[in-house]
């Protein structure tokens, strides 16, 4: 293994010369916190190595957020000698893009040749209009819900959970909330001077370098796949309807342009499902008090009905059955839908290297729908002998030797039967960009999901590299693969490296 020595010595500096054939691809996971930043370095005979940067971000309000990102950007600059051949922005979440905000000047001083974005990011893309409309509507509604929940002392504690989910998009209460990451994307597209490519799944594979081929797996083209968040066998058509807005005041918001689910008339219709003659003002009913003279009840029987039965007063023994605050649970559900929608819009890539066609699978934050859609088509490529070949997602999964675990190891971002269980290679290694302490103790989230972690450890024979914990303990890796693994893997405080043989 020619790579051995360079691995052991591997520091912040880039390989000195282009690696020769039979060398390795270096996969580097930066350790910024809960967030993704991966640098793949491919050897190029007779030329400087080829660098691909996939995402650069850390979760909103991570400790020392800005400085960590700037340190990482500085290291990227020195590791690549200031040239990034391909920069991939997988999806519009803060924990994948914030580095380009915090270290914009550092990236701006580098030469970035190509920017790859998912097809839905193409300005004016008509097939994504529905998605943008729904996203906007959800963001507006959730922002409103959050503001309302924070005002109500009874709801403030629960509002925190909602806020945290929304922070995937950045600061949910900032006036420019919807603009923040949009601005990063604009900058990537327009200001870097790079060639921008919008990738669609399936079709022809991208011949990146001799011996390096890229397959775009997602995001799905079909709307239904975006809406798939669960893997249901008997109800394959199940998907979510998004036009459900329980948040008070939401219906009064102007509809987003092109939002086909909620048009202006629908909003009016929904504001009042019944004609006004049926309406009894809830505030009046709440203010109703038992009158001194019983015959007065007969004058307003309906107010009396609700005034005595509903449970307006906190201490009247009926308050436990009230439903006024149920909308917060609705808002939570909508926040999850928004989160899943964006995750499903991830640009997931399979990168095939070397004669053995080993695969590095960069799953971004793809959730169920994105994974399933990958199986819906095939790719065409040209073999080294010049023959035309057809490649399926199952092929790619079967040859995967390095799996960048989706969505920080949450339970629904790694498909079981049509995902992990198809990764049958003996060489499989997993990298999880997760900070369990931050996810669990600060956010209270189940990341990484214990069941998935067990499955990954089992399938990789213990070769699981984590952003927070670094390399696994020697004893945790099964003996037959231990030596080879620890020769190919290394760590520093700033990153973990793994050399994928070509």
């Amino acid at each position: 293994m020619a790579a051995k020595t360079s691995v052991k010595k591997s520091t912040a500096s880039a390989p000195k010369t282009g690696a020769v054939a039979g060398a390795s691809v270096r996969a580097r996971m930066y350790r910024g916190g809960l967030g993704d930043c991966f640098l793949l370095t491919f050897p190029r005979p007779g030329a400087s190595p080829f660098h691909m940067l996939i995402d650069c971000g850390v979760f909103f309000q991570s400790p020392n957020e800005k400085q960590r990102m700037r340190d990482i950007a500085t290291d990227i600059k020195s590791a690549t000698k200031g040239t990034i051949d391909v920069l991939v922005g997988t999806h519009e979440h803060y924990d994948h893009l914030s580095g380009f905000k915090h270290a914009r000047d550092i990236f701006a001083s580098m030469s970035i040749k190509q920017v790859w974005l998912p097809w839905i990011d193409k300005p004016g893309e008509p097939r994504a209009a529905w998605l943008r409309a729904i996203e906007n509507k959800l963001k507006q509604g959730l922002q409103l819900a959050l503001q309302q929940a924070r005002k109500d002392p009874a709801l403030r504690a629960r509002a925190l959970g909602l806020e945290q989910v929304l922070q995937f998009g950045g600061n949910p209460l900032a006036a420019d909330y919807s603009e923040q990451l949009g601005e990063v994307k604009r900058w990537l597209r327009e200001d870097l001077g790079a060639t921008v490519q919008y990738l669609e799944p399936h079709g022809a594979a991208i011949e990146l370098l001799p011996g390096v081929r890229v397959y775009a797996l997602g995001p799905p083209i079909k709307e239904t796949f975006f809406r798939r968040m669960n893997d249901s066998k008997t109800a394959p058509e199940t998907y979510e309807a998004f036009s459900l807005f329980a948040v008070p005041g939401f219906a009064a918001l102007p509809p987003a342009p092109g939002d086909r689910a909620v048009t202006a008339t629908d909003v009016e219709g929904l504001t009042q499902p019944f004609e006004s003659r049926w309406h009894i003002d809830a505030a009046k009913a709440a203010a109703w008090r038992i009158p001194r003279r019983p015959d007065q009840i007969a004058k307003a029987p309906d107010l009396a009905f609700f005034g005595t039965r509903y449970g307006f007063k906190d201490d009247d023994g009926l308050a436990w059955r009230r439903i006024d605050n149920n909308w917060l649970a609705e808002a939570e559900a909508l926040a999850l839908q928004l989160d899943s929608l964006t995750n499903n819009s991830s640009l997931a890539l399979a990168i095939e290297v070397g004669a053995a066609r080993r695969v590095i699978l960069m799953a971004a934050d793809a959730q169920v729908g994105n994974w399933l859609s990958g199986h819906e088509g095939t790719w065409s490529a040209t073999s080294s002998a010049g023959a035309s070949i057809t490649v399926s997602a199952a092929d790619l999964l079967g040859r995967t030797v390095l799996y960048k675990v989706g969505h920080h190891g949450s339970h629904n971002a790694t498909l079981k039967q049509r995902g992990l269980e198809m990764m049958t290679s003996d060489e499989l290694v997993a990298m999880i960009p997760v900070n369990e302490d931050f996810a669990t103790n600060v956010k209270g989230w189940a990341m990484p999901y214990p069941g998935l972690l067990t499955a990954l450890t089992d399938r990789t024979k213990g070769r699981v590299i984590r952003l927070d914990a670094g390399l696994p303990a020697q004893a945790a890796v099964k003996a037959p693969v231990r030596k080879r693994f620890f020769e190919a893997a290394s760590e520093t405080a700033l990153y973990c490296d793994y050399m994928v043989p070509m």
Binding site: G161, Q164, V165, M229, N230, D231, S232, K233, T234, A235, E237, Y239, A241, F242, L244, F245, A246, A251, V262, D266, L270, T271, P273, F274, W278, H279, I280, D281, A282, A283, A285, D302, F305, R309, Y310, W320, R321, R322, I323, D324, N326, W327, A329, E330, E332, A333, L336, D339, S340, H411, N412, K416, G444, W445, A446, M447, Y449, P450, G451, L452
Partner: protein, 668 residues
């Protein structure tokens, strides 16, 4: 006495006396009051058994199609509640129509309004919220009546556990017909309430449904029946909302669907219409085998929300679902898994129906069994529909009755099959129409087996009966005597449900004392029979003990059941449930903490025959079972126990404001 009669005299011609007063007035017969009592008697003899209320048989969607419009409006015959007040608020239900999203209340309907009494309540209408109130009331009461008939007792809702004794009883289930603005409806175990949503339709097929039109889930018979069933099961088995096994939540969903499906068959017009269209064949796609048509279409599906028989394939063509024996081992999402059980029960129903109508087909076809082309004779339709309705009512009754024969915790589908078979054997000793075999066959085809039986014969599926020599048999006699006394005071007497409930609490306490104070040699027998751990030397890890050193246990319920079989004999039983719990770490390698802990429960359902005071069955889930513990841990750690919501908002079942069904009912 005198006081009462004087009160009667003061208002001799009361138009609407409430029933409680009426009852009390019946007793005194004084010279002056004779006329009054007489009038009361006459009045009572005129009391209608039912209140007739209009409703949609399916949902408003069916009224917009020419084909189904004629049969979609039905009149439900709901038990007459004398004390019904506007709301409607009756003995079991209170409909409170609050729409928080608009900040409105909608005025309560008064079903005693003479105009409404004279015309089967309000006519079906989407635009009148008072009709919505009427419909949820009518369908919910119908579902309750089905349960009471099958169980042979009055039902009540799940009691509260977080308040002082007097407030624990929940007399009325609350119904909010317009609680949510979303494509959802659910039973809230915390609020003891049904919450129904409304939403703009977002159909995939725009020809079939108006996009953006408002869909009200409270106007779907199936959804109302489904949610009411959730509440009824929670009232019987409050541990069945704890996801301790993939089957538990799936079971809740399945029974709720089964009740909704079989209630379709109680609408004769719908059954006749569908039988005529399908020429007696209920295996092909029909409205009878599908649930929530309008809701399904409005949320972008090509057909009903769920179907017991099949569904559209990739091309939108309806295809029957072929039973797959591996499904039970591979499908874990609660609704999908529940669908396996629903399909099994529907399959059993079809076998029963086919056996019952085979002779009719032979008669109608001169023995060939092959129907000529074209419409079938209306008489045949009538007879087939009658058989279908009868079979459906039998199957529904069997399914509900079996709930009494389930273990109190951690139910599996296989155990439910055993409960079905045992319950039916008790009431119908001669299975001359092969109902039980139909069930076994249908379950077998779907790979649903109990874990612990030697064969799938009726005999081995029946819960183990306690033999005559068994020492525990005598032992339970003492318990039985207490129970007999209790039952005599409650059953058969028209007492209000609160009194019945309070008596149950008292007897449970008494039995708790009897069990806790039994001498050590009997304790041994009792532990073996019940699967509990009581004696100090038997206490497993994580269980609390009383001061006396005995393991903490609870007598959760003691419910009488009076069931009559087709041969005319009736059986009187009491069903006791006794449970225990242990706090254990989810990951045994780590210490118990707030996150790393769960309640592991065990216990038994004891069925006692009240006539002989014999212990009939003790359906156990051993609190000390290591196998079950391993299974439950594995389940809690598997992704089947998780959801995206759980990733972000912790385990919803642990939180005080949890709504397990709210999130179960939407695929988040």
């Amino acid at each position: 006495m005198a006081r009462k009669s004087s009160r009667v005299r003061r208002s001799p011609v009361r138009r609407k006396p409430t029933v409680r007063k009426t009852r009390k007035q019946v007793v005194p017969v004084t010279a002056a009051g004779a006329a009054v009592a007489d009038t009361d008697d006459m009045r009572r003899s005129r009391k209608p058994p039912h209140r007739r209320l209009s409703a949609y048989a399916l949902d408003p969607g069916a009224s917009t199609a020419i084909d189904t419009a004629l049969i979609n409006e039905v009149v439900l015959r709901v038990r007459w509640e004398e004390d019904l007040t506007p709301g409607p608020v009756g003995e079991y239900l209170e409909v409170i129509d609050h729409d928080p999203a608009t900040g409105c209340f909608y005025p309560p309907v008064d079903l005693n309004d003479p105009y409404l009494l004279a015309q089967d309540g309000l006519p079906p209408s989407e635009g009148n919220p008072q009709f919505h109130q009427q419909m949820v009331y009518a369908v919910s009461m119908t579902t309750i009546a089905n349960f009471e008939r099958a169980l042979g007792r009055r039902v009540y809702w799940s009691s509260r556990t977080d308040v002082s004794d007097e407030d624990r009883f929940v007399e009325k289930l609350r119904i909010y017909p317009h609680a949510l603005r979303q494509a959802n409806a659910f039973y809230s175990p915390v609020k003891r309430a049904l919450l129904f949503g409304y939403f703009p339709a977002e159909p995939a097929d725009r020809a079939a449904q108006l996009p953006g039109g408002t869909v009200f889930s409270c106007l779907s018979h199936d959804i109302v029946a489904h949610e009411t069933t959730h509440a009824l099961i929670d009232g019987m088995h409050r541990r069945f909302i704890e996801a301790t096994h993939p089957d538990v939540l799936a079971f809740h969903e399945a029974i709720a669907d089964i009740v909704a499906l079989f209630q379709h068959f109680s609408f004769p017009e719908v059954v006749k219409h569908q039988i005529a269209r399908k020429r007696g064949d209920l295996e092909s796609q029909s409205l009878l085998g599908e649930l929530a048509q309008e809701f399904g279409r409005a949320t972008g599906r090509r057909g009903a929300l769920r179907s017991a028989l099949g569904g559209p394939d990739a091309n939108g063509e309806w295809r029957p679902k072929i039973p797959d024996p591996t499904d039970y081992d591979t499908v874990f999402e609660p609704h999908d898994r529940g669908a396996i059980l629903v399909a099994a029960v529907f399959d059993a129903f079809l076998s029963i129906y086919k056996a019952r109508v085979a002779d009719l087909f032979r008669l109608a076809t001169g023995g060939t069994g092959v129907l000529p082309a074209g419409a079938i004779h209306p008489d045949l339709v009538e007879r087939l529909a009658g058989e279908a309705a009868k079979s459906a009512q039998h199957v529904l009754t069997m399914c509900i009755r079996a709930l009494d024969y389930c273990p109190p915790v951690d139910l599996t589908f296989g155990e439910y099959l055993r409960a079905l078979i045992t319950a039916d054997l008790d009431v119908v000793p001669d299975d001359d129409r092969y109902y039980r075999l139909s069930f076994i066959e249908a379950f077998r085809r779907r790979g649903i087996y109990p874990r612990d039986v030697r064969s799938l014969s009726v005999d081995s599926l029946r819960w183990r009966q306690v033999s005559a020599q068994d020492a525990s048999r005598d032992h339970f006699e003492r318990i039985g005597q207490h129970l007999r006394e209790y039952v005599q005071q409650t059953i058969g007497v028209r007492r209000d449900r609160r009194t019945v409930w309070r008596r149950e609490r008292e007897i449970c306490e008494k039995l708790h004392g009897v069990i806790a104070r039994q001498p050590p040699h009997l304790m041994d027998v009792f532990e073996e029979t019940s699967g509990l751990a009581l004696r100090p030397e038997r206490i497993p890890a994580g269980m609390r003990t009383k001061e006396s050193g005995i393991g903490v246990f609870a007598v959760d319920s003691a419910r009488p059941a009076r069931r009559a079989g087709p041969s005319g004999d009736s059986i009187h039983q009491v069903i006791l449930t006794i449970t225990q719990r242990r706090k254990l770490p989810i990951d045994p390698a780590l210490p118990v903490s707030e996150e790393n802990s769960f309640w592991f429960r065990g216990g038994c359902t004891v069925i006692l025959d009240l006539d002989s005071l014999d212990l009939q069955y003790a359906i156990r889930k051993r609190i000390t079972s290591e196998n079950r513990l391993i299974r439950q841990r594995a389940f809690l750690q598997s992704s089947a126990g998780a959801s995206l919501r759980a990733t972000y908002f912790k385990d919803p079942l642990r939180e005080a404001h949890a709504e397990p069904f709210a999130f179960l009912h939407r695929p988040v």
